[in-house]
């Protein structure tokens, strides 16, 4: 089922009842978006950005970083100098 795939990609666990509910809801969203396909866009350049800006750069200069403690402060889990996560199985 498409909804299961989407949930897997987003790492969301769905209860059985939710699958059906969200399937319906997503379906109606997609249907709504599909309406755009009725427009003829052959002559329109694809837009990736709504602003007509380009080439916004910064110079290659370093600025002070967060301290280690600050950086780790919002992490759900940390140990010593590191973020700690469930063991990554290789």
């Amino acid at each position: 089922m498409e909804i299961e795939r989407v949930a897997l990609l987003a790492r969301i666990k769905l209860a059985e009842g939710e699958k059906e509910l969200f399937s319906k809801q997503l379906g109606s969203i997609l249907q709504y978006i599909d309406k755009l396909n009725e427009l003829d866009t052959k002559e329109v350049e694809p837009t990736s950005h709504v602003l007509s800006m380009k080439n916004i750069f910064r110079e290659d200069r370093t600025i002070p970083s967060l301290s280690k403690d600050q950086a780790l402060l919002n992490a759900p889990d940390s140990a010593g100098d590191f973020y700690r996560v469930p063991k990554i199985i290789e």
Binding site: R5, L8, L9, R11, S48, H49, L51, M53, K54, N55, I56, F57, R58, E59, D60, R61, T62, I63, S65, L66, S67, K68, A71, L72, N74, A79, G80, D81, F82, Y83, R84, V85, P86, K87, I88, E90
Partner: protein, 478 residues
């Protein structure tokens, strides 16, 4: 049935910027874990990335050096996947509009030149680093590297064997170092590659199913991993099996590639244009400006060294393999050194000493003009070629000028005939037995006499005069 391999490479090169791709954190290697991060590179909500201009310019520069077309219009894209070293849940990369397309690298193989075509070069950010604790239930993450500018160079499947792959990597490394966009340190991972490998019966046009090989962090391992993988695939096919498209890791200890056995689910990165960044438009004038910063590349420099200085191909190849070496050579020639003499001393002595000390040319204390000083002393007969080697080693160690060392250590060559004659007489007198054997026809002993004379004069006697006098005396005695 005969099989042939089809190999394409994806090279990741860390760019030599000071700061990260989209924020001002330092990219310095080897700092304490998690001390080079900020809200942008650890993916805090509400932050905005801003592109590092140098990173863009380094990729354009690389594109020009590798004969690519620089795209007039390109943009960034999000590559979505979950992994602990990727704090945002997506990597900012490029997808359908990379900065450079096409291009090629020429490699030399059995003295013929082969073009390895490139598909594209794009810019992306690196991920952090996972540290695995063997026994425990946890892994640890250091995000210092997260957001470091990374250039990905993708080749066409033009490579046919492991040796070509290594040749390609060596050539690419030389070029990237020449144009100073990457420090090409394979051990530290700033220059690394993955390989797509498949095999097919010779003569077949279609490609076989490919495996992606990762974790090859030296030229030796690239060669070994590819050799192993090709053999493995041929064996599977010969036994009637089929190749599975998968990612395999090179296991250095066991000398084999191993399946990562990741879930069968095909990756779905759901790329889409990065809404936080505006497009990059590269005007021809910008390209022209970067072109003027390009140095002469190794291939054309090699050609020039052969034609301009009359060096043999092998010597020219060695001297141009590193930009700093080539520049050192030319600097010495400009200071009045004879090209062949400079080349011989560099290849015979200087590169050997640097190699012994595990040093780069950039770290060499000896200046090109100083070698010319030494060559002049030999040329004018002040010191012998043999003594010059000792002097050179001293110069290399101390960075002092040749004439200073020669004076201080009293190494000036003795060309005074009467002084040398005295020594010759003394040696002949003290070695009667050898003298008789020589007279009896054992001409090899000439070398023995020369050696004795040099020993007494501590190598300072002008060898030409020694030889002349010695021969004269021996003839006389006959």
């Amino acid at each position: 049935m005969q099989y042939e391999a089809v190999i394409g490479l994806e090279i990741h090169a860390q760019l030599l910027t000071d700061s990260k791709m989209f924020c001002g954190c330092s990219v310095k290697f080897g700092s304490e874990p998690n001390t080079q991060t900020c809200p942008v590179c650890i993916g805090m909500p509400g932050v905005l990335p801003v592109t590092n201009k140098n990173a863009i310019e380094y990729v354009i520069k690389t594109g020009l050096a590798l004969n690519c077309t620089v795209s007039p219009y390109s943009r960034f894209a999000r590559k979505n996947y979950f992994y602990p070293d990727l704090p945002k849940g997506y990597q900012i990369s490029q997808y359908e509009l990379p900065l450079c397309e096409g291009g090629y690298v020429e490699i030399t193989e059995d003295s013929s030149i082969k073009k390895i075509k490139l598909t594209r070069i794009h810019l992306e950010e690196d991920a952090g680093k996972n540290i695995h604790d063997g026994a425990g239930n946890y892994s640890f993450v250091d995000l210092n590297r997260a957001g470091t500018p990374l250039m990905e160079i993708v080749t066409e499947p033009d490579i046919r064997n492991p040796q070509e792959a290594v040749e390609f990597m060596k050539k690419l490394r030389t070029i990237l170092k020449y144009i100073n966009v990457c420090d090409v340190n394979m051990e530290q991972g700033s220059f690394r590659c993955d390989a797509n490998v498949s095999v097919r019966p010779v003569g077949q046009k279609e490609f076989g199913v490919k495996a992606e090989i990762k974790n090859m962090n030296s030229f030796k391992f690239i060669e070994k991993a590819l050799e192993y993988e090709i053999k493995r695939q041929v064996k599977v096919l010969k036994e009637g099996g089929r190749i599975i498209q998968e990612t395999r890791l090179w296991n250095t200890d066991r000398g084999i590639t191993e399946s990562m056995r990741s879930k069968e689910e095909a990756h779905d990165y759901r790329y889409f244009p990065e809404p936080d960044l505006v497009p990059v438009e590269v005007e021809p004038s910008w390209i022209e400006r970067i072109k003027t910063q390009l140095v002469e590349l190794p291939d054309s420099r090699l050609e020039r060294f052969i034609s301009q200085y009359g060096l043999p191909g092998h010597d020219a190849g060695l001297l141009t393999s590193e930009r700093a070496t080539a520049e050192w050579f030319e600097e010495a020639v400009k200071s009045g050194g004879d090209p062949k003499g400079v080349s011989n001393w560099m290849m015979g002595e200087l590169l050997r000493l640097l190699n012994e000390d595990n040093k780069q040319m950039e770290e060499c204390a000896l200046k090109p003009g100083q070698l010319v000083g030494l060559l002049n002393l030999i040329e004018s007969g002040v010191i012998s070629g043999k003594i010059a080697k000792t002097v050179f080693e001293e110069m290399y160690k101390t960075g002092r000028d040749a004439d200073v060392i020669v004076k201080k250590q009293g190494l000036i060559q003795v060309s005074d005939e009467s002084a040398i004659e005295k020594v010759v007489d003394e040696v002949l007198k003290n070695n009667q037995k050898e003298l008789e054997r020589f007279k009896a026809g054992d001409e090899k002993l000439l070398g023995f006499f020369v050696g004795q004379i040099m020993k007494i004069t501590k190598g300072k006697a002008n060898p030409k005069i020694v030889n002349e006098l010695l021969k004269k005396k021996l003839m006389e005695d006959n």
